[in-house]
Symmetry: C2
Subunit: 419 residues, 2 copies
């Protein structure tokens, strides 16, 4: 008998009607002959309520108690889901993290899996249970305390179970019906992808497509878990949604699979920094220390006449989220005041956005960058910063052109057309 993992997020189990709807999807898979491990999130809103209470007790709370409180939301859903399945004559029971037991590190609120032993669930499947409903997002430490994986950890729980139990597939039911070539709110021609490679999904996830938690995709890639994203609110079958899978399982090989964007970026340029070994570390060390999430970095070296001498100087440009600019500025000014770095000026542009094209096909298709730049040029969009990786090209542009750029690139790479 083949085993499926099905994960339902908070909006998919927001109330008893939705839990019934989700249970019906599970029942259908059981009727098709599957054993199913169901991973559930807390009913939407519940985790926020619990977190709010904990934070109201103190700003510096004990993360062990935070975890014990917050994990209870998933326990409630797990029980209600098991009851609903039983009501449909599906033999099911709920499992809290410590009952499996889902063994994690003791890093409370951001714990990582150590092991998911199969024995307890396997024994129940052998007894005739067809469904194990597991509370997502949680585990238990070696000390016997309840741990949580951090926000979005239920996706990761689902993938970890799929890996541990050698599941045929891990279905992530959510409030969208799959992964799109770009954001349909910006580009009406956006098209749902039938398949996407893990690497592409990772780039899209970190670029702001919030369909799947990055960690869950990484885990799926490592253990080659076939991951499917599909809608809780539609009738679904074996071909629904988007399959996130290994590159080798994808027949088509187009250059670009999607266009991602990130709206609230800022560009900071340190003008005329003295160029010497270690200067990058001297700049980005203090930024990291101040908690600034630096994204793109570019450096141009030039020469400058300084009191009759010619010295090598560099303009160092980087991007970070707009709301971290104040923190970044202070870190850099402090570093200059204490003599760690020296620069002439700090130029800040808070009106930029990042647009990226992503595709594993880039590895074999030449000229993708040129095609991207001409598409933007045709719309008179000026490119401020460029960075590239093996399967991604990103540019910083004026924010006001962001939507236009996304649409132009979507057209240029013909993403509205199926392969």
């Amino acid at each position: 008998m083949s085993l499926l993992v099905m994960k339902f997020g908070g909006t998919s189990v927001a109330d008893l009607d939705r839990i019934r709807n989700a249970a019906e999807k599970v029942r259908r898979e059981v009727m098709r002959g599957h054993e199913v491990i169901v991973i559930v999130s807390a009913m939407s809103g519940k985790t926020n309520e619990l977190v709010g209470w904990v934070e109201a007790t103190s700003h510096l709370y004990d993360a062990r108690e935070y975890d014990a409180v917050v994990a209870s939301g998933e326990n409630v859903t797990a029980g209600l889901m098991a009851l609903t399945l039983q009501q449909m004559d599906v033999p099911a029971r709920s499992w809290q993290g410590w009952q499996v037991p889902i063994q994690t590190t003791s890093a409370h609120s951001s714990a990582r899996f150590i092991d998911i032993p199969r024995a307890n669930l396997d024994a129940k499947f052998a007894e005739g249970f067809r469904v194990a409903v597991v509370a997502g997002f949680q585990g238990v430490s070696a000390e016997g305390r309840i741990t949580t994986l951090g926000r979005g950890g239920s996706d990761t729980t689902a993938v970890a179970f799929a890996a541990a139990f050698g599941a045929q597939r891990c279905d992530i039911y959510t409030d969208v019906d799959g992964v799109y070539t770009t954001d349909p709110r910006i580009c009406a021609k956006a098209r749902r992808l039938d398949t996407i490679a893990f690497e592409e999904m990772l780039e899209l996830a970190s670029l702001g497509a919030k369909v799947l938690q990055t960690r869950s995709v990484e885990l799926a890639m490592r253990y080659k878990v076939r991951l499917r994203v599909l809608s809780s609110f539609e009738d679904t079958d074996d071909r629904s949604g988007t399959l996130v899978c290994d590159e080798e399982d994808i027949m088509e090989s187009r250059a670009v699979s999607g266009v991602a964007y990130s709206r609230d970026e800022a560009k900071l340029t340190l003008v005329s920094v003295e160029d010497r070994p270690g200067i990058a570390a001297a700049i980005f060390g203090p930024l990291a220390g101040a908690g600034v999430n630096v994204d793109m970095i570019v450096q141009n070296i030039s020469e400058k006449d300084y009191e009759g001498h010619t010295v090598a100087v560099t303009d160092m440009t980087f991007s970070c989220p707009v709301n971290q600019v104040a923190r970044a500025r202070k870190a850099l000014e402090d570093a200059q005041a204490s003599g760690v770095i020296a620069y002439d000026d700090l130029v800040v542009d808070t009106e930029v956005a990042k647009v990226s094209v992503v595709g594993i096909g880039m590895r074999s298709h030449a000229g993708v960058a040129a095609q991207m730049f001409s598409a933007l040029a045709a719309e008179n969009i000026n490119i401020k910063v460029i960075t590239t990786s093996e399967i991604k090209i990103s540019v910083l542009i004026d924010r006001k052109y962001m939507e236009l750029a996304v649409q132009a690139l979507h057209d240029a790479f013909e993403l509205d057309k199926a392969t």
Copy 2:
């Protein structure tokens, strides 16, 4: 170092302010040098919300899943209480039932304690923790499933911990400031008792004084746990509230300690039942089978002329809650139809109430019954049924006289005066 158990009910931890108020009471006991085991209920309303969800899934739900869902309410409070105590610099941690572990039977939703091993909590106290916050109302079965004790089980949890850890006292914080000689809403002269014996408390609890769960009083009596009822919402000290304790610890010995009542009673009389061995079993068997909670039973034997023969007949009278009358009637009529019993008539009076006087002093004071009957006679209140136990005398009267009877008896036994 002496150990206290402090239990806070749902209204005492209804929100974060009240949790802080309760935590402050715990902190004060810690400052006095106590180690404290705190037992918490769910925030008021939470258990009902969870139960509502479970019941909405099905009328015939799996009690194991019910328990897993419903127990989460106490887990939330336990974590929040531990966090609040930490915030007050009191070293504390939360304990869920399975972490202690509180070992219970597998009778889900009405589990009973098997053992509360001390090792885990003792180890933490030895490490310097001063407070263990334990989620009330729950435990874990030998199968590793979460169990609950049934409604009000947090009182029982508190007493069980007090017994297991040899606590100096078990303080039950609630929304009233103690146990009263009668219901102050009915009798303005009602007075808070400083002490009451376990046996008296049991009679009062089962007669409708809802301050303490009957089971917790039974358990306290068995293990001689000194139990104190006091208010969460007042400043309290060592002399606050009412101490429920062993008879030997009570100096005073008045005949009557309290007047209890039960409003919605019904009186049923089977007229001219044939009197033969086994007739009581033949009547009350079917009633028990129909789930009727029979309370008082009286039987008068007489003789009757039946077709020229003299046969012994009896009038059998009993009381039960008003809302069970229909069920009782059907059970008796079915029993007659099937020939199990034979009677001439079934007379039902649904307009009666029960009033009782309770006191361990009755054992040594003669004439309490006579004094009770004269007090009622002085008010022209007719007594319909009388039953007595060693420390209690109960009468059924017309419901419309109930308040009058309570007041008259309170006066007659001078319960408004301290001993």
